[in-house]
Symmetry: C2
Amino acid sequence: MARASAAMIGAATIGATADAPAQEARMAFRAGRYDGQTAGLAPGYLQGNLAILPGDLALDFARYCQRNPKPCPLVGVSDSGDPMLRTLGADIDIRTDVPRYNVYRNGELADQPGDILDLWRDDFVAFVLGCSFSFEQALLDEGVPLRHIETGATVAVYVTDIATTPAGPFRGPMVVSMRPLVPADAIKAVEVTSRFPAAHGAPVHLGDPAAIGIADLSRPDWGDAPDIRAGEMPVFWACGVTPQVAIRAARPSICITHKPGSMLITDLASTQASNQPGRAPVVGADQGAAGGPG
Amino acid sequence: MARASAAMIGAATIGATADAPAQEARMAFRAGRYDGQTAGLAPGYLQGNLAILPGDLALDFARYCQRNPKPCPLVGVSDSGDPMLRTLGADIDIRTDVPRYNVYRNGELADQPGDILDLWRDDFVAFVLGCSFSFEQALLDEGVPLRHIETGATVAVYVTDIATTPAGPFRGPMVVSMRPLVPADAIKAVEVTSRFPAAHGAPVHLGDPAAIGIADLSRPDWGDAPDIRAGEMPVFWACGVTPQVAIRAARPSICITHKPGSMLITDLASTQASNQPGRAPVVGADQGAAGGPG
């Protein structure tokens, strides 16, 4: 149970009784007290994928996100050179407040530091993109089972033959995550996730994998081979790996992302990724009630 | 009946039986055969507000839109220096394909030309933002009456004391449009417009105008004084005048917009502004069925 253990480690390490759990988690990352996965930490708070790019690529990347909102749902953009993500929370310093970073140089992974204080430049722009955690929580709340969470596996992720709309040097195939569901749950999943445009929104495909260029479901490009049972169909969502592939294709002199699984935790409510956004959860409230009393 | 007459003028001028009504309308604008209002033209096609800015302001304006999605729902951004809006339709030349333009220099209206061929620069970026036409059509389709359309008036628009989130030099108050509705229709209007995030989405306020800094509903900042009847409450939506105010405050050396009311008509379906986007309408189909057979 990868998520449960991350939550337990987190609770022990960063203090689960904090008044401001998202901020407390970031303080633990900033101090170097935790550098693991963020799934299960600060429940009810919006987590996001991070991409930091040099200023001369920032407008093209903003255009890439605008043109491909399902794989690249922008939830925040820093001012140029400003490491504080002022629209996403109080005191978020993007140089230190993610558990661990991937530093790419010319499209190749060069380092995985715990902070990027010595790498920050005054032309850098930080982009934060919504991730699937928000819609997965909503699916669980609606009673839609998610196999990879039940079995502690990593969700299966595939490259498709669907081309994204390019912008400047950013281009490439759409990458999707797949969750196997029985038809009734697939229908419910479309209804629920369509309300979460900032967390990849409704599926991009369901059924025949070959229709989107996936030859063999048992061999995902990332994640664990899926456990698809009788009566289930594969349901495919646009995935945050898509912009990572586009960025690598662009081969920027430098690009810094979160280390996969170690996301940015914002002060926004997880439901901010929906079109019925709620407030951030009240500490001590039941997580399922984060969006309000009903 | 401003809209009916625009539609009638349009039908007579640009040919209502065209195979591709949005493109035919743009060809009429490009040829100088029509320079009036676009409400009622090419029914079922998404219309948008236009803002063209110099390259050194483009990233800040993209950030302003990302941070203020209700007043500034981005539906398309051109490549730098490219006058063709490739993501919004076939053969849209933004230098000629809007009926008439407003040219602002240092924040002041300087000219209202029919094209901007001689003004275009290779650093210009064109931004297209969703407008209220999509959600107004959806409201009418759902049986919610809109007084300003019934009476042929221009919708009442007000400056509020709600501050937008600034980005670079772009900042200022949120501007709202107001439609008076009985409570049952106000509720329905929230439901319907919340499905149209790219057309300003759900209202930002309803009821007491003073709560958002509006002193006197009978004196709008733009548009006609509203006709509010017994049992109705004012319902306020974020308005596309907001970015115009922010742009004027930034006083760019040059900025080019559409002339108010003379919008860009895209090849996208009007329902693309919703989170249940449909295809562009089939020519000859009933307008109300643009989103599908139900």
